[in-house]
């Protein structure tokens, strides 16, 4: 198999090009270091040529885990791509046309080592907006390899695809690849400043408003940050409400139809008392989850995330994190697993581990249905739900700050490393891509949660319907476990739902709908007191109930002890805080 690797600095447009050249739908983010893993797919119209997308490399010298992975993949590609040779057949040098000179300089050492290469100039549309004109033919002559321009939204030119396939089939990378030295890079930059810069002309353009004058302003920047976050969470609360009502009505209609159309018996009972309420209780939150992914996608694709990282670097440095921790932490509000993978772009190991420690405390999308039900149990006023949800997000950030600060102070005292980041150009989000991306993420959520909810709903319904010694099986199980949850003030049925939520948090809601049918209309004080509800909310905020998160933490830190300690620590802390909350509130 012949392989082509996409090589370039972070945020040069490698993943966008990969998607265009292969028809894949990898996530694209306007933030340096968003690709942290190896992706591969056959080149469009050339199934024998495998195109490989690697994380961006800044200096050619490994400095973080993502860079290290890319550099290792350049010599041991077979470890990631089955059937590939150790070294790629050729390279596609991805160069951002707005930063052509130093991007080409970083490719020069690979050209000098004899790597067969084709250069693709991405972001040509942005270069034009900035008044930059690139003499593509002159650049190809200066570099000594073919150069193809590529605009952001255009399909790749067929000539480029053929040229890529030809260079991949007809060449082989050199057998020896010595490390790139600092002196070599210095010489490459001097060469690029003379040769490459001569191919670029700067036309005069009318001055444009620079959004960074506001978003990085000492006052306006922080106002924009708070406003942006407030808008994101307002979307979840208010924009999603009518769609959630529609989904709810759909399931109500389905339950009525089954009640009328299916003859009485265990099938009808299983459907109307198990599967349908179980699924409805979680799927009603799908519009909220879609909007969460969409809102985070807008921030990711506009370029605002890098600005946010700059704004929050100083406060984060006080607790041992740094600005680069912000993006994984925000991603944790959607799902902890990609957020933990995103920490690969943090160069300092200690900062990375502290960030991983904080991520499970961010409130992921699976918790939204739980909070929706529990906040509705406290009050049906939308204002209370809004204040409550804001309090949950703010509270979880505060708990995370305290936990990380304590770990930084007492477990591993050190500085928060250095912080340097390239700010990408502001871009209008690709709205079509964003909707598709959010739908794909939402579908993944449904696919992951759906089967678990169905199995558990049927199991719980069966355990509630089958009697042993005059009582349902579930009653015996619940009574046996009741002492564990009694200090939290939980009804035994709610305790069972909490225990089951360790399979997946959102299952708590479906389990509650099956075990406590009256909870569909809202949990009343006969089931849970306000103090117990508050305690339960705190328990879900802190407790780590996701097996996949534990597995990813173990994989990324290579430490089972760390993963197990986090699991035990957060479950114990959540339990302790819930009991304390109940005691304080009476």
């Amino acid at each position: 198999m012949v392989t082509l690797v996409l090589w370039g600095v972070p945020n040069a447009g490698k993943t966008t090009l990969f998607n265009r050249l292969t028809g894949q739908r990898s996530s694209v983010v306007n933030y340096p270091g968003s690709t942290v893993d190896v992706a591969y797919a056959p080149l469009r119209d050339h199934a024998d040529v495998m195109l490989v997308d690697l994380p961006g490399v800044v200096t050619g010298v490994p400095e973080d885990d993502a860079t290290d992975l890319a550099t290792t993949a350049l010599t041991h590609l077979d470890a990631w791509v089955p059937g590939a040779l150790g070294k790629p057949s050729a390279m596609v040098g991805v160069v951002d046309a707005t930063q052509c000179v130093h991007h080409v300089a970083l490719l020069k050492p690979y050209l000098d080592r004899g790597y067969p290469m084709i250069i693709v100039l991405t972001m040509m549309d942005e270069a034009k907006k900035k008044g930059l004109r690139v003499n593509v033919d002159g650049l190809a002559d200066a570099i000594g390899c073919p150069v193809f321009p590529q605009e952001r939204y255009d399909r790749p030119h067929s000539g480029m695809i053929v040229a890529l396939a030809t260079v991949a089939r007809g060449s082989h990378a050199p057998r020896v690849s010595t490390p790139i030295t600092r002196n070599e890079l210095q010489v490459a930059h001097e060469w690029a400043n003379a040769q490459v810069a001569a191919c670029i002309t700067q036309a005069s353009i009318p001055p444009r408003w620079d959004w960074d004058r506001f978003f990085l302003h000492p006052v306006g920047g922080f106002m924009g940050f708070v406003g942006g976050m407030a808008m994101l969470f307002s979307l979840l609360l208010y924009a999603a409400a009518p769609f959630m009502d529609m989904v709810g009505a759909l399931f109500d209609g389905l339950a009525q139809w089954v009640g009328i159309g299916v003859p009485p018996g265990w099938i009808r009972d299983g459907l109307t008392q198990g599967i349908i309420p179980g699924l409805a209780s979680v799927l009603v939150f799908v519009p909220q989850i879609f909007l969460l992914f969409w809102g985070i996608g807008v921030l990711e694709s506009s370029g605002y995330l890098a600005r946010s990282a700059v704004l929050v670097d100083k406060p984060l440095s006080l607790i041992g994190l740094n600005g680069r921790s912000f993006v994984p932490l925000l991603s944790g509000c959607a799902c902890a697993i990609p957020a933990i993978l995103a920490t690969r772009s943090i160069p300092h190991k200690r900062v990375r581990w502290l960030t991983i420690m904080a991520i499970p405390l961010m409130q992921c999308s699976a918790r939204l249905p739980v909070y929706g039900v529990l906040l509705a149990a406290l009050s049906h006023q939308p204002l209370v739900a809004g204040v409550g949800l804001t309090g949950i997000y703010v509270g979880s950030v505060m708990i995370a700050a305290v936990v990380v600060a304590l770990a930084n102070r007492y477990v591993s005292p050190s500085t928060s490393g250095d912080f340097m980041i390239q700010l990408p150009s502001w871009r209008m989000p690709d709205w079509v891509y964003l909707v598709r991306h959010s739908m794909r993420k939402t579908r993944e959520f449904i696919k992951r949660a759906g089967p678990i909810i169905m199995i558990i709903s049927v199991g719980l319904w069966a355990a509630s319907a089958i009697n042993v010694a005059g009582q349902p099986v579930m009653h015996h199980v619940g009574q046996w476990m009741a002492p564990i949850f009694a200090p939290m003030g939980l009804d035994w049925r709610v305790g069972v739902a909490v225990l089951i939520s360790f399979a997946a948090r959102e299952v708590f809601v479906s389990a509650l709908a099956v075990l406590v049918p009256e909870s569909v209309m809202g949990i009343g004080p006969s089931i849970l007191s306000p103090a117990a509800i508050m305690g339960l909310i705190v328990f879900f905020m802190v407790s780590m109930q996701c097996g996949a998160t534990v597995a990813v933490i173990k994989h990324e830190t290579q430490s089972l002890r760390f993963a197990v300690a986090l699991l035990g620590g957060y479950v114990s802390l959540g339990y302790g805080l819930a009991v304390l909350m109940r005691m304080v509130m009476g």
């Binding site: 600095v9 800044v58 200096t59 010298v61 400095e63 707005t98 930063q99 000179v101 130093h102 300089a105 970083l106 900035k130 930059l132 600092r182 890079l185 210095q186 930059h189 001097e190 400043n193 620079d210 960074d212 004058r213 990085l216 302003h217 000492p218 920047g221 890098a306 990282a309 700059v310 704004l311 670097d313 100083k314 440095s317 740094n322 600005g323 250095d418 912080f419 340097m420 980041i421 390239q422 700010l423």
Partner: protein, 73 residues
């Protein structure tokens, strides 16, 4: 000797040298070599990060790290 963190917003300078090797590598990788023009765009209060332009590249650097960067004002 003037360092980057001492520069005011909208003021331009020329990069001379940097004492920290990691920062030197990072700046070089982004095309900031001795003699490159720099213009300070924004400064986050309470000694936060400094944002500056070098040709068409916009970089943000923590103030403590910017204190290692010597410039010609």
């Amino acid at each position: 000797m003037t360092t980057l963190n001492q520069m005011h917003i909208n003021h331009s300078c020329v990069f001379k040298t940097v004492s920290d090797e990691r920062i030197r590598d990072y700046l070089m990788a982004h095309g900031v070599l001795p003699g490159s023009p720099l213009c300070v765009i924004a400064k986050i209060p309470f000694n936060g990060a400094i944002t500056c332009d070098c040709r068409h590249t916009r970089l943000a650097i923590r103030a403590e790290d910017a204190a290692c960067i010597v410039v010609d004002a």
